[in-house]
Amino acid sequence: MAAKKIYPTPMLDVLEEGPWPSFITGIKALRDNHENQFIADVTSSLLGQLEHSYETRKGYWKGGTVSVFGYGGGVIPRFSEVADAFPESKEFHTIRVQPTPGNYYTTDMLNKLGDSWEKNGSGLQTFHGQTGNIMFIGTTTDGTQKFFDDINDYGWDMGGAGPCVRTAMSCVGAARCEMSNCNEHGIQRWLVNNFTDDVHRPALPYKFKFKISGCPNDCQNAIERADFAVIGTWRDDIRVDEAEIKNYVEAKGRQYIIDNVITRCPTQALALNDDDTIAIDNRNCVRCMHCINVMPKALRPGTDKGVTVLIGGKRTLKIGDLMGTVVVPFKKLETRDDYEELVELAEEIIDFWAENGLEHERCGEMIERIGLVNFLEGIDVEVDPNMVSSTRQSSYVRMDGWDDEAIKWFERKAEA
């Protein structure tokens, strides 16, 4: 069955050429071959509107309010501003669904989700949007509720949209990566599932994102993009397999290893000995991962594993891009209590920010405005020199509390 009406798409047709898979070819297949009349018509109209965008270099969707019963967010409403010309896609809402940590699926489950969407939506989906959700793209208000009821019954829930805790993301992690230092899956679910109410009912100053990477390679872009970044790391020595080091030296040559491993260590913590064994100054290794990335058979993270937590990463709006800042240099995550403490930290931070953040102010922007020390005092975390790249450069500060602060430092050291 084909769409009742076909709109000409000369510009989009050009995107069917070339070797990379074409989204236009895919949408056209729905238009021309899908037996569900709604899908054929809505995708035909979508192509018409997209062609119009290509011709005029303008977008034609506007937002609105659509949600499912019981929730305040999770749907990205889309109403067409050119519905007169392209009426079949006048409503084209996107539904955000939370994936598993690391985005694991069986093919059966993918088919099942696809079937549900085919019954209730356009047949177009994305694994995944930049925020981390499965995005089911294009349905009516009515279809939104039906689709959600369907997939919610077999274990899938909506993600966040608006000023709320958002869908979290994790790297491939311990399931398949030897670099991993933590259980990303456990961390993601402990954290975000503690805040399901805040995911579904937007009532925070703005968005709040958790992202988890199993090691400092940070494949999940957590430091740059998450309000609450959890990065796996280790405290003890890098594990070395000297026989494998010799194999690398033999295969690549001494000079290659010196130029590409030894001298590239940011803290000069490496040396290649005359007998082709490696010397590592582990106290000065900053766990950057470089040497391990180059020689994964010879070097591995240590065994005293845990996480570093950085707070306040975000993208451009409003004061410019910010990286997260170290707030917890190292935390073991082994027992239930450890995980509970991590969740408590997240609660403290979200509560403090909910109270002190301005409308539409990300957590990192609030920290920038009030200063890290005020933030730390607000969430009851002690200062630590790992939180700074350098100490203060300006003398313009009142320091009459120095002696008390110094005593606190020595007391904390004595306790540790």
Binding site: S22, G114, S180
Partner: protein, 358 residues
């Protein structure tokens, strides 16, 4: 429907991933020892137990129609073990434990037009945003830009010819939800918003629009006897932040919304600390359906990087080593007053030394 008939949601949140994980991965969770790279697009991970798993990484069009999704899953059933995951860049990864399945799997994928690659020092699949297809604020498309560029970069996706991996991103408004990339192609507006004064009082909450502007360029005003907003065009930095909360602040312009290219965004802590991307080129026409001018600049930068960078250097590290003057010399791109930052913290980006290369 009456409220009483509505089905209350089950607030299950983020689902457990272990139920969908390959049994070999479940058994060896946290116990992987090392990996090797048998060929582009294929990874081999070896666990402490001696068990192995192979990953075949495959680029997709991201906007998947149900026919393509079923094609990908049926290939996963016939040629792999029925367990998959998607990467942050919308590649699908298939897992197999039997090495002899790899080649038939790749063949099946390629025969259907999918592309295997994106591992190690390749140009990874570009990450993209929603664009004209389904966002309400975009200045350009995203899927079309990515399709056009990946058509040209496909050889680099399928091979290991770059000094280190290259992550390219696109964003279709200056919110930049596409994130940081070694190379980023983002919208850059060049004119202040045109205001549809008749609509402002109907659809905008004026104080929150005023508050949204990063440079306090917006103030409430009466226009033609109706409450509206006005923009101090001398102050306005054309960022478009006022547009999402107030669509009558029309920032998108067919001619004046341009593309800009940025380099050196890197999320990894390897060698240096993570870095944000820096401006290299702007005023690039927003030229659908193939954006050839933006594509040419990306290819130019990649060519210079490939020729000049050392092994393991990401694009940003390469530029840092050779210096910005050499970057502009090698690429032939113009250096302008717009490259010099004046936003908060800008002083840290100025050269306060005699470190100069001649």
């Amino acid at each position: 429907m009456a409220m009483a008939d509505m089905r209350p949601p089950i607030e299950s949140g983020c689902p457990d991933g272990f139920q969908y994980m390959h049994p070999t991965m479940r058994r060896n969770f946290g116990l992987w020892k090392y990996h090797t790279d048998p060929k582009p697009g294929v990874l081999r991970h070896v666990a402490e137990s001696g068990e192995e798993i192979f990953t075949v990484k495959c680029g997709t069009q991201r906007i998947l129609d149900i026919f393509s999704l079923r094609e990908l899953t049926s290939i996963g059933d016939e040629f792999a073990d029925g367990f998959v995951r998607f990467t942050i860049r919308s590649n699908i990864e298939y897992y197999v434990t039997d090495e002899s399945k790899i080649d038939p799997l790749i063949e099946a994928l390629e025969s259907k037009g999918y592309v295997v690659g994106g591992t190690k020092n390749s140009v990874a699949a570009m990450s993209h945003t929603q664009g004209w297809l389904h966002c309400d604020i975009p200045g350009t498309d995203a899927s079309g830009v990515v399709k056009s560029m990946m058509d040209e970069l496909i050889g680099e996706f399928k091979s290991w010819n770059m000094p280190n991996r290259v992550h390219i991103t696109t964003s279709c408004c200056q919110i930049n939800c596409g994130g940081q990339g070694d190379i980023a192609i983002n919208i850059q507006h060049t004119k202040p918003p045109k205001i549809d004064h008749a609509q402002v009082s109907n659809v905008c909450e004026r104080p929150s629009v005023v508050a949204r502007c990063p440079v306090a360029a917006i103030r409430p005003a009466m226009v033609d006897g109706k409450p509206s907003l006005e923009v101090d065009e001398k102050k306005c930095i054309c960022c478009g932040a006022c547009f999402p909360p107030c669509p009558p602040m029309m920032i998108n312009d067919a001619e004046h919304s341009k593309l800009a290219v940025w380099v050196g965004g890197n999320h990894s802590n390897a060698r240096g600390k993570p870095t944000f991307q820096k401006l290299v080129a702007s005023a690039i026409p927003n030229n659908p359906p193939r954006w050839p001018e933006a594509g040419a600049i990306v290819k130019l930068i990649l060519k210079c990087y490939k020729e000049d960078a050392r092994d393991w250097e990401r694009v940003g590290e390469w530029v840092e080593r050779i210096g910005w003057p050499r970057f502009f010399e090698l690429t032939g791109l113009p250096f302008t007053k717009y490259h010099i930052d004046n936003w908060r913290g800008a002083r840290a980006s100025l050269n306060a030394s005699t470190h100069i290369r001649f």
